[in-house]
Symmetry: C2
Subunit: 448 residues, 2 copies
Amino acid sequence: MKSKKTISGFSKLSKIDKIKWIVKHFFTEPDVVMHELKSYWLADDEQQRVLDGFSENTISNYYMPYGVAPNFVINGQTYCVPMVIEESSVVAAASAAAKFWMDKGGFKAEVIDTQKVGQVHFSWNGDFQKLKSVFEELENALREETTHITANMQKRGGGILNIELIDYTAAEEDYYQLKATFETCDSMGANFINSVLEQFGRTLTSFVATHSVFNDSERDLTVIMAILSNYTPDCLVRVWVECPIEKLGNFPEGMDAKTFAEKFCKAVQIAQIDPYRATTHNKGIFNGIDSLVLATANDFRAIEACGHTYAARDGQYRSLSNCSVENGRFKFWMDLPLAVGTVGGLTKLHPIAKRSLELLGNPSAKELMGIIAVVGLAQNFSALRSLITTGIQKGHMKMHLLNILNHLNATDAQVEKVVTHFEDKLVSFTAVREYLATISTSEKMTIS
Amino acid sequence: MKSKKTISGFSKLSKIDKIKWIVKHFFTEPDVVMHELKSYWLADDEQQRVLDGFSENTISNYYMPYGVAPNFVINGQTYCVPMVIEESSVVAAASAAAKFWMDKGGFKAEVIDTQKVGQVHFSWNGDFQKLKSVFEELENALREETTHITANMQKRGGGILNIELIDYTAAEEDYYQLKATFETCDSMGANFINSVLEQFGRTLTSFVATHSVFNDSERDLTVIMAILSNYTPDCLVRVWVECPIEKLGNFPEGMDAKTFAEKFCKAVQIAQIDPYRATTHNKGIFNGIDSLVLATANDFRAIEACGHTYAARDGQYRSLSNCSVENGRFKFWMDLPLAVGTVGGLTKLHPIAKRSLELLGNPSAKELMGIIAVVGLAQNFSALRSLITTGIQKGHMKMHLLNILNHLNATDAQVEKVVTHFEDKLVSFTAVREYLATISTSEKMTIS
């Protein structure tokens, strides 16, 4: 017997019929929820149709706050950075760091390389030396049989860079790879790379099936899968800030510049040593990074996966950022792999993402790598500055409390009372609602 | 000389004045952009005020498609899972995997533990043996002086679990940690943990400054920072699917169940061996995970950072999922640390997140851990199934093409022609627009 909550052919239902089925089976107030889900649709039908098309079984829109952090000076250029984030203090932290460094030379960014990576994973029990001996011929075939895919990318200055054959049989029986690198210019390049790799798989299979160097027992090669790698350690940008220590100025609770610089470096060093701290430290960096990645409709899962793998590249998960205090200078920097695009994908299709790129002056992919990494470094700077001076809770709790009061439609007078009451108490939704109720009751009693 | 593009006091401007400044300095069509940004505001002012309050410098809303994947059977319960994702094929893949496993026993989930972690990092050059000798006393003080924060959490069954003192001086001079574990019930617990830890820092400082066991040269202890760790390897859920191999059925291109099972396992094994593949493999898992994390207003940066650190825990970055084909059974599973909440944070404040939780039957945090991890495993199953059978490009490119045609308002007749034309060509926005223009021209010529 099937549960009433399962369904066949759901994806083929109209949007409204999808909603009807959902509210009927999963909500206690079907009509209210139906109305609510529809209320989040865009007024412009065409635009809504475009958004719906990005994904499947789309029934409404999910809203995230779209904010901006002004005053980012990067390589002498000034940017106002769009940020999509649901967590409080992130935009404030980015803005504060931008302003802090604005008159200290600003941020610097330098793209080190832009290589993307793709792999054809295959099983084969033939003689590897034979395959190696005809690799030049194979490589020519791989390049020739993908010219219909690579022609346009080559016109733009990109294409296939290197193709390599890797023997992995020491780790797994019969397992080999074709590993290729690509230049994809201003696009992230996923579709391009995957199309090339799937053709590589077909070319490789027929090459081995027909080449005279192999005997008949070697002709069957199985392509396990052909797909880009999101790990792109050579699609790398370096960002940094630096200034004479005394220029850092003074900090809360009477902390002078030298003490700040040393404590700051110690905090970064701790994130180099301890994976428990490194995870949170890098999480803060990605608070900034993902905000801008989202705002430009790039893929934050790809960026996260790549960055964290990079953080673990030497065998221990470590801080992505580094700090030094030497010869009277404070320096704070980060190398980060970032595969992003400013053309292709959804960048031009999502109406707000398009505006985000315009706000940034329609940057190239390289320029965007720099801006994204800078926002991550800025975030990290502000987070550490808070942590080593006042702590983060004071600001966080105040913001959280105001969110709750906003939601509960508290009056200005109530807000004032509640904020005072919670100065030394833990803020939670229930506690605030309950305290607000006691105020409201006493107010009513006063009136009556 | 300051750039005209920098500004002081931006955060204090009204929302409309913020937008005015931005459009004036960064856009070529200020009025159009102003109108557009405002058009994305919610009709309900109160609701918009709540959303604006989540972040800072908020000027508009960023829209993500809100979709659902029905037919998820987990521990015998049926769920319709809300997913917020801008990438095509993710919701389709989740739905396909849900349906595939629905009549094969469904998914299983088991929460192994729910411990959260926090640390007080400190510098001290006293005698560590002395500190150890009075640790019981210190621990009592730490617990006592945080009772005003922990009282409510204890009523709900949570609180501080263990407190440990760690000597890190072998790695960094004078560096120690208080490392504590917490049970935070249905909340993610960040605010609770951070409030406790900041008090720990104050208690620790005065304990060392006043306790008779220390001499005066040992009284100065510097708290570097006090903050939760997003790395929570003991906040862990296990999810899995399994069935007799023959029940897997047949697959595209004539692949039988046994071949499928073996090729599938090989693909998982490759992601265990090779970090380049592991990154992409796990990225696919997080496509599913983040969709639901976003839909419930949990913090996807925290979830990502934790999961990837966990993937690198043995010194090499590896696949989070595992597969076995033994004794005629196919089994596919994953252990994943997931610190999430169903109360607190934005879960009740974001209007759509609240509905997402209702759609899931208002689960506990433990139940939500299971659902989230299952969606990740489902995603991984579908991605690997595509990769080892038909490849992923066919489906991807078709969807991408339809997105572009949607955006360009192509007629049904045009869509048909363009889809046929691009069957063997690489889809890009420019290429599609250009081809569409040639069709439109020839159509006009035919008409005239």
